[in-house]
């Protein structure tokens, strides 16, 4: 940080006031801006080096008074000290970042913050709605009334009714028992017909002969075949077939 060589900064008398107001600064940039405004009204005219000295002096005073400084104030102080030394060194075109750019940026930031402060003040100085201008307290409000119009055609109406009636007749149809031979029934029947016969008999011989309903006949065939498999599995019967598509033979197992 700075030493006695830079001690000709801000007037000493101002320091205590600043210290007392420390809590009201909104960060180091705010403090810098206040110091700058104290220096010159036109921020384009301020001396960056003088500003750095003012800031560093202020921080030093605060430390002397053992005031706790937030870390960002100290970071700014270190940055400014670095900036100052860089600015005072003979110009080095290789220096990165360029101290001139750094100083320019600082000045830009101060000007920009100052501009935003002024803009905020000008905004607040405008007539404000609810304070200076008023709208109606209880407007009636507008409403778009929607009148629903149902667009249903006569055809839709009739086909809906048709569908209901159709559903009715269909449902009565479904309720009727379909002509099938259940597996249980087929097993019982086949077991009975097979009895204790140990002679090989064609499975087709066990089918009923006079089935007019072809749907029922198919059901009986399927159920009887599955019943034959089931009886074989249970060890009550044996099945035999000489070749593919040859007649299936069946006999009871003793």
């Amino acid at each position: 940080m700075s030493d006695d060589g830079f001690d000709d900064g801000p007037p000493r008398a101002a320091a205590p006031t600043l210290v007392l107001q420390l809590g009201s600064w909104e960060g180091p940039l705010d403090l810098l801006l206040t110091l700058a405004r104290g220096q010159k009204v036109d921020l384009a005219q301020i001396s960056i080096l003088a500003l750095v000295d003012q800031y560093l002096g202020f921080i030093r005073d605060a430390k002397t008074l053992s005031l706790e400084l937030a870390a960002d104030y100290l970071v700014m102080a270190a940055w400014l000290a670095y900036l100052k030394s860089a600015l005072l060194l003979p110009a080095d075109p290789e220096a990165e970042p360029d101290p001139q750019d750094m100083a320019l940026r600082l000045q830009f930031q101060l000007q920009r913050l100052d501009a935003m402060r002024a803009a905020g003040a000008r905004l607040l100085a405008r007539p404000q709605h609810g304070r200076d201008s008023f709208t109606r307290a209880a407007p009636e409000g507008l409403k778009l009334e929607t009148i629903a119009r149902y667009d249903t055609s006569f055809f839709e109406l009739l086909s809906a009714y048709g569908a209901i009636r159709a559903r009715h007749s269909q449902s009565t149809h479904i309720v009727r028992r379909r002509p099938v031979m259940a597996l249980d029934e087929a097993i019982e029947r086949l077991e009975q017909l097979l009895g204790a016969s140990i002679d090989w008999t064609e499975l087709s011989r066990f089918l009923p002969h006079d089935l007019a309903d072809s749907g029922y006949a198919r059901s009986v065939l399927a159920s009887t075949f599955v019943a034959a498999l089931e009886l074989t599995r249970l060890g009550k019967a044996s099945l035999s077939q000489g070749a593919a598509f040859a007649p299936i033979l069946m006999r009871a197992r003793p």
Partner: protein
Amino acid sequence: MTAPDLPDELQTAETLRALEAIIFAAAAPLTLTEIARHVGERGDLLLLLRDLATSYAPRGINLVERGGRWHFQTAADLAHHLRPARESIRKLSRAAVETLAVMAYHEPVTRPEIEEIRGVAVSGGTIDVLMEAGWIRPAGRRESPGRPLQYATTPAFLAHFNLASRRDLPGLADLKAAGLLDREPPRELSLPLGDAEA
């Protein structure tokens, strides 16, 4: 308050502006006393209010006095702009069309009957929609246990479907001929619309 050294006309103009603003921003119609309190008593306010009312008369906003209280309101002839009706075309749900059809063919009909015929429960919303469309109406109570409400169709229903009367509804044979019935309906379900009813 406005500067006291203004010439009379300007003073009056300023008072008129104040009157406008005060009545406009008020939460409720204001009495002359209330207005005077806001404006700061000066001049014949009643006269000014009447002038103001006259100047607003041809506009879309009018200054009116009702029972000694003043307020702005929109001109009565412009109400249609404030509540413009917009038609929205909607489609009835399948359930609604079916319910309507059952009502049309079987009216007067109760909700349990509709449910029996359709084979599904009829929601209150469905009936509400048909009511809103103006196509059905409650038609008294059935004199049976529970006295259920009956429904029937309205003249608006007939008008919408271009029917002179319910007798113009096609019978089951017509529906079948038009391919709207897949199967012969079971005998026991007779149409209540035959010639006997005519």
